[in-house]
């Protein structure tokens, strides 16, 4: 199992290119199931979940090709199966995203239930209820969601999500795009990745209004066609590298990104004392050698502060001047990185969904263990500041969300290497 070995204390300085967003790429790849014709999807990150999604499409008979520019071409003209098997779904929860497209296009689907998750419950009930509201009959048999549409075509419906769900909104939006009539999604997720999927569907010929607001209206169409679409930049990867600059007192310019995607994060970084400058497709953060000021954050669905940046800001506060609170309102059980950071000398008290963090001038290197994707990223950030060497174990979590993480940090001057054991 690989680990990252990091010797901290270097001030980061340099430019990096931000990858495409996995959380946008996965639903967009699932949406290619809706296309009548060839789809070209670009700016995909080279991550294992992307490969798994392509494998999932391939096992259903979709023709998939990777082009010279690393864009992906899919053709669903000769599908042979409508089953998302357990072996693939268990490694990638986002597999549930094929449910809506399969039901909308083919009137049937069989999708394995995903397994448990380390960062709290993320039930698929909302997806199932959405499909049922549009006329699908759904049973859960032997761990599989077995669904079919009497009459073959889903019907538009009014759907209210009692909890904001990103993948639930995406699944219903894809299903509704080919449904008969109008679908209204209330309390829809407003995340940029949801908007990106809507933009992709619109480019395929869908009629969608209200993406990026909490009420979406989708007028179903008979068919969707293929198109070229580039997925949006990864705002969380962007934010992670900016926080890395902030905690090391350094300067990082993130290229091929979009400052509008992470306004809440940039605002907090400025509050922490960082000098942030932006262009249409870049963001530069310069800490000018200063130690950050503590900043309190409270996570909430977009456009508020994203839960996927919570762990990184716990690290920022752990080395900042002052005391701050970090409140997690989106997922339960998402402070598992705190105990590992305490082992590195951080002063963090967790009470319920709140972490109270008192900054210290420095942290100390230690062997630590990653527990989930963003927690892993926070441990890498802590290691970059810590005195001495830190081994971050179980980095398969981090490899799921960050493309070429050690190469990018090396580009910025960090002393980081991957060690295979």
């Amino acid at each position: 199992m690989d680990k990252l070995s990091i010797r901290g204390g270097r001030r980061l300085d340099g430019d990096i290119r931000i990858s495409g967003a996995k959380n946008s790429a996965l639903p967009i790849l699932a949406s290619t199931l809706l296309a009548d014709g060839v789809m070209h999807v670009g700016n995909l990150p080279h991550l294992h979940d992307i490969t798994t999604m392509l494998e999932l499409l391939g096992c259903m008979g979709v023709q998939v090709a990777v082009n010279e520019d690393m864009s992906v071409e899919t053709d669903c003209g000769q599908m042979t199966s409508y089953v998302a098997p357990y072996d693939l779904v268990r490694t990638m929860r986002a597999s549930i995203l094929v449910l809506g497209p399969l039901l909308a296009r083919h009137g049937k689907a069989e999708v394995s239930l995903p397994g448990g998750c380390a960062i709290g419950s993320r039930p698929v009930d909302l997806h199932i209820r959405g499909m049922e509201a549009m006329g699908a009959e759904v049973d859960v048999v032997d761990g599989y969601i077995q669904a079919h549409v009497p009459g073959g075509r889903l019907k538009g419906a009014n759907i209210f999500f009692d909890t904001v769900t990103v993948t639930g909104t995406e699944n219903v939006m894809m299903a509704a795009a080919l449904a008969d009539g109008k679908t209204v999604i209330e309390n829809a997720a407003r995340e940029p990745e949801v908007v990106d999927l809507a933009n992709c569907l619109i480019a395929m010929g869908a009629r969608i209004e209200g993406a990026g607001t909490d009420t979406m209206i989708i007028h179903g169409v008979e068919t969707l066609h293929g198109c070229h679409f580039d997925v949006l930049p990864d705002r969380i990867e962007t934010g992670t590298y900016l926080v890395a600059a902030a905690v090391t007192g350094g300067r990082v310019k993130c290229k091929d990104t979009d400052p509008l995607l992470l306004e809440a994060v940039l605002h907090k970084l400025e509050e922490a004392g960082a000098k942030v400058t932006t262009g249409s497709d870049w963001i530069e953060l310069d800490m000018e050698g200063r130690r950050p000021q503590a900043v309190s954050v409270r996570t909430a669905p977009h456009p508020a502060f994203p839960t996927d940046m919570q762990a990184q800001f716990v690290v920022l506060n752990a080395v900042a001047e002052g005391t701050a609170t970090v409140i997690e309102t989106v997922f339960e059980n998402r402070f598992m990185h705190a105990q590992e950071l305490v082992r590195m000398g951080a002063d963090i008290h967790v009470e319920g969904n709140t972490a109270i963090v008192t900054g210290k001038p420095g942290l100390k290197g230690a062997p630590v263990m990653a527990t989930d994707l963003r927690a892993s990223a926070s441990l890498v950030l802590a290691a970059l500041v810590a005195e001495g060497e830190t081994d971050v174990n179980r980095i398969y979590h981090i490899d799921r969300g960050y493309e070429c993480i050690e190469e990018k940090f090396q580009q910025l001057g960090a002393d980081i290497r991957r060690v295979s054991s």
Binding site: Q63, A65, V66, N67, E68, M70, E73, D75
Partner: protein, 103 residues
């Protein structure tokens, strides 16, 4: 789009040219198998004339590799386009192909 060709150059060699994409490789796979059937011991395919590539090209070479193994013919691939290398890399197929490439 440049239509691909696969032309025999003697019984043990062939020249591959044109674009290797999803839309073009299927007939090439069959033609290659015919040429491999006629080859003895070794079959060399020269990719110097190849233009556009995608992972369909990798699939094509894999198909020929498997067929060569069945027929106990050694596959050699000459002048592999540089732009095919990253696709082979992200497909985790370097261990398979590296031994087949000749300079």
């Amino acid at each position: 789009m440049v239509a691909p060709t696969l032309n025999a150059d003697g019984s043990n060699k062939a020249q591959l040219t044109g674009d290797l994409t999803l839309a073009t490789v299927t007939p090439l796979a069959r033609r290659g198998r015919c040429l491999i059937s006629a080859a003895e011991d070794v079959w060399q395919v020269d990719m110097a004339g190849v233009d556009q590539v995608s992972s369909a090209a990798v699939a094509l070479l894999l198909d020929w590799y498997r067929y060569c193994e069945q027929r106990e013919v050694r596959l050699e691939i000459a002048n592999v386009p540089d732009r095919l290398q990253p696709i082979i890399a992200i497909s985790d197929l370097q261990p398979v192909f590296t031994k087949l490439f000749i300079v």
